[in-house]
Symmetry: C2
Subunit: 447 residues, 2 copies
């Protein structure tokens, strides 16, 4: 009997949780936000519940609204390396920017993480949308969206070739003969492109997964095309089933058109669940969080999403929809349309919009008892909207504990989620093949 | 009664050990060279013997002679992050290049390592001498020595300001008031220099040590001046007491001239000990290693040190001293003079020179019983040649076990090395003060 199709579940970790006021909630671990043991413990809980992976976002600039929330950012690859040492099976996905890294350095960081974790590394590929990052890297201005994606494509070609530059059997490691590496199987790239000139080979032998898992989160036209071509898992934000279905169908179609197996492109929307034993209790919990919102913080978030500064406006007045069209402003591409759709659908006041977005920066927020959460997950999963989810607990660790203890057992009972790991690597958890090296059928000597 | 001045001891880790044929020796852990648990175990042994730190070298290019030895390079910061999670007191020093990193990225990596290790990070600052690195980073050629040091100086100014950009009390983290950061104490740099334009602030709060420990290894004129100005610990290679004394006196003098406390510049020569219960046994052990040397490998090493290709020459003929002068070739600046001095002093054949350098790439190799090793350490320590040592076992783990089990107890009995840790951070192990933030007396708002 063939096994039922299985959900993939990741735990997306923000210091205090994903609601923008999470760190102020009495149950959050605000005081431990700088402490690696807190993150190691979260990862161990997720591993205990057989999650596919944990996930860290990233950006190389300080958020403007750090005054009002825990918006610092540890460097994810160091953090994941320390978490790797405290876990044994769970995948480790870190975000890093193709705009603000050199491919040789990035390839080494992730190859090393893949080695030290025994094949559990994933790279969430971003081009960085925060314009202030440019000023930390000597650029006169942040490169535009199209240019960033163009660089990203070449970047991917280069790091892929670097990860493949040692064939799997290049390491001989034979003390008797004195041969460590069969250098006929260690290949220079000699890449010469518009953005990069990289000779190679990498100075790290091929890693357990061959290549770390390629994760991506773009939602713009360029972002979708990039994801369909390169991504093996896609994180995406949707407020409605219909929106998620449209995205799902589009990506799978584009992947098919590129001769890729669409099952090897996992689509994982974000979900931020407020869980109570009754609907009323879950709603009250969500209200408790919304009461902790600081509008000074939220307006900066909104400015980043829309490119529109609403400070000074009456929070309880209507959202000034006309300003979006007249300004033609654009913020983060993956969020702009989503927020405008909410405005058009729900006609909120500014305060209502802020609350709507406070839960998880535009991701799907749902409140209810565990059965309802599980039902919704199953509906999206079985109706062409998701292959799994990026779970974004409103607060941590308690908000995740509720999901793990009450929702996961329901999903397991329904046969939708594993009872135990069958594989050891992140590729195995996701059902992805281990890629052969690009060079595996060439004969070419190292210079 | 004041305590006697104490040695600082680091364990310098190369996969199979420091002798170039170490990985071929029957006692080396050649088969575990790609396994993080092997390195975690080495670090735990060093911690058990209260060593100050472990140390990893690095370079962003594949060595030309990887065919004949384990000359791959894991990325040290990921590696150290995973080791941090398996240890609690030992310092963690990783090498990274100022020529091939962006300061914002590097500052985050080390600040994160310092956070996750509870204040145990050290950065060995190098400018990278291997010319092939340039070709992995799109540079038409490797920048010359002077230019690399010029960039390094500005790089240091930038990362220092980034590490200081959050004052120590900038993190308020008060859920009740909703203030996470006192942004009057989070400072942009607005650095504009010849090589870098960096706005800042860093997106990581100030780390436990304030700044990771600054380690350096330059021996050229530029390198010494740089070390005297910035370094808190210096790794250095000397074949003789006289050479080490000259270096020690020069650095301390230069530090004093810059108004630095010379005690806060620890000078740590490399030492590679072959230990036997008798002199004859130690000598036989060293011969056993020399019998495993592969000249194909050694000649590449020599070419890198001297810029001179001797393949094709009779290994048992005299070293062609005249070629150095006529070619005027230069390899790695910190080794060139050292090797030429050996040639002039000992008039070796090529094979003899290769054996002389095979032990630890030009570092001090000494063979003998434990008492003799301890005597020599004490002589250097008490005669103005060293504040401690970078211990470079010929092979691992056995070569280190011998040192730890037989030499450390003698040093302790003589009151020269700690019986237990008195501090928790690497700065505390080295007796270095925790630096105040550059910004700690300014009042300046985040823009």
């Amino acid at each position: 009997m063939s096994q039922r199709r299985q959900l993939n579940l990741n735990l997306f970790i923000y210091p205090g949780g994903h609601h923008e006021a999470a760190w102020r909630y009495k149950g959050s671990a605000a005081s431990r936000a700088l402490d690696i043991s807190y993150y190691q413990q979260l990862a161990r809980t997720a591993e205990h519940y057989t999650f596919d992976a944990i996930f860290f976002a990233d950006g190389p600039a300080l958020a403007d609204n750090v005054r009002y929330a825990q918006r610092f950012r540890f460097e994810p690859i160091t953090w994941l390396s320390a978490i790797a040492a405290a876990t044994s099976r769970i995948g480790l996905i870190g975000t890093a920017s193709t705009t603000y890294h050199e491919p040789y350095n990035l390839a080494r960081l992730y190859a090393s993480l893949d080695h030290l974790s025994g094949g559990r590394a994933g790279w969430n590929i971003v081009t960085t949308s925060a314009p202030q990052a440019a000023q930390n890297f000597g650029l006169p201005e942040h490169p535009d969206h199209h240019e960033r994606y163009e660089r990203a494509k070449e970047f991917l070609d280069v790091v892929t070739a670097l990860w493949d530059s040692w064939e799997d059997d290049a390491v001989v490691n034979d003390p008797a003969s004195g041969i460590f590496a069969d250098t006929d199987k260690v290949h220079p790239l000699n890449h010469v492109g518009k953005h990069f000139r990289v000779r190679g080979p990498l100075n790290v032998p091929r890693s357990p997964q061959g290549r770390p898992v390629y994760v991506q989160a773009g939602s713009s036209e360029d972002g979708r095309a990039f994801a369909a071509r390169f991504a093996e898992a896609i994180f995406t934000a949707h407020q409605t089933l219909a929106s998620a279905q449209e995205f799902y169908a589009d990506i799978k179609r584009q992947a098919r058109a590129l001769d890729r197996n669409p099952d090897h492109v996992k689509i994982l929307p974000g979900i931020s669940p407020f869980i109570g034993s009754t609907q009323a209790e879950a709603d009250r919990l969500q209200e408790e969080f919304n009461d902790l919102i600081q509008p000074e913080y939220s307006l900066v978030q909104l400015r980043q999403m829309l490119g529109l500064d609403l400070s000074g406006f009456d929070l309880d007045g209507p959202f000034p929809r006309h300003l979006i069209e007249t300004d033609g402003a654009r913020g983060v591409a993956s969020r702009f349309k989503l927020v405008v759709d909410i405005v058009d659908r729900e006609k909120p006041t500014i305060r209502q919009l802020i609350q709507r977005l406070a839960g998880a920066r535009g991701h799907w927020v749902i409140a209810g008892p565990p059965e309802k959460i599980a039902d919704n997950i199953q509906t999206w999963f079985e109706n062409g909207a998701a292959d799994g989810f990026n779970v974004m607990p409103p607060w941590l660790p308690g908000g995740f504990d509720l999901f793990a203890e009450h929702v996961v057992p329901i999903l397991r009972k329904r046969g939708l989620f594993r009872e135990e790991y069958s594989g050891k690597t992140l590729r195995e958890h996701y059902g992805l093949e281990r890629p052969a090296s690009l060079y595996s059928h060439q004969v070419q000597a190292i210079a």
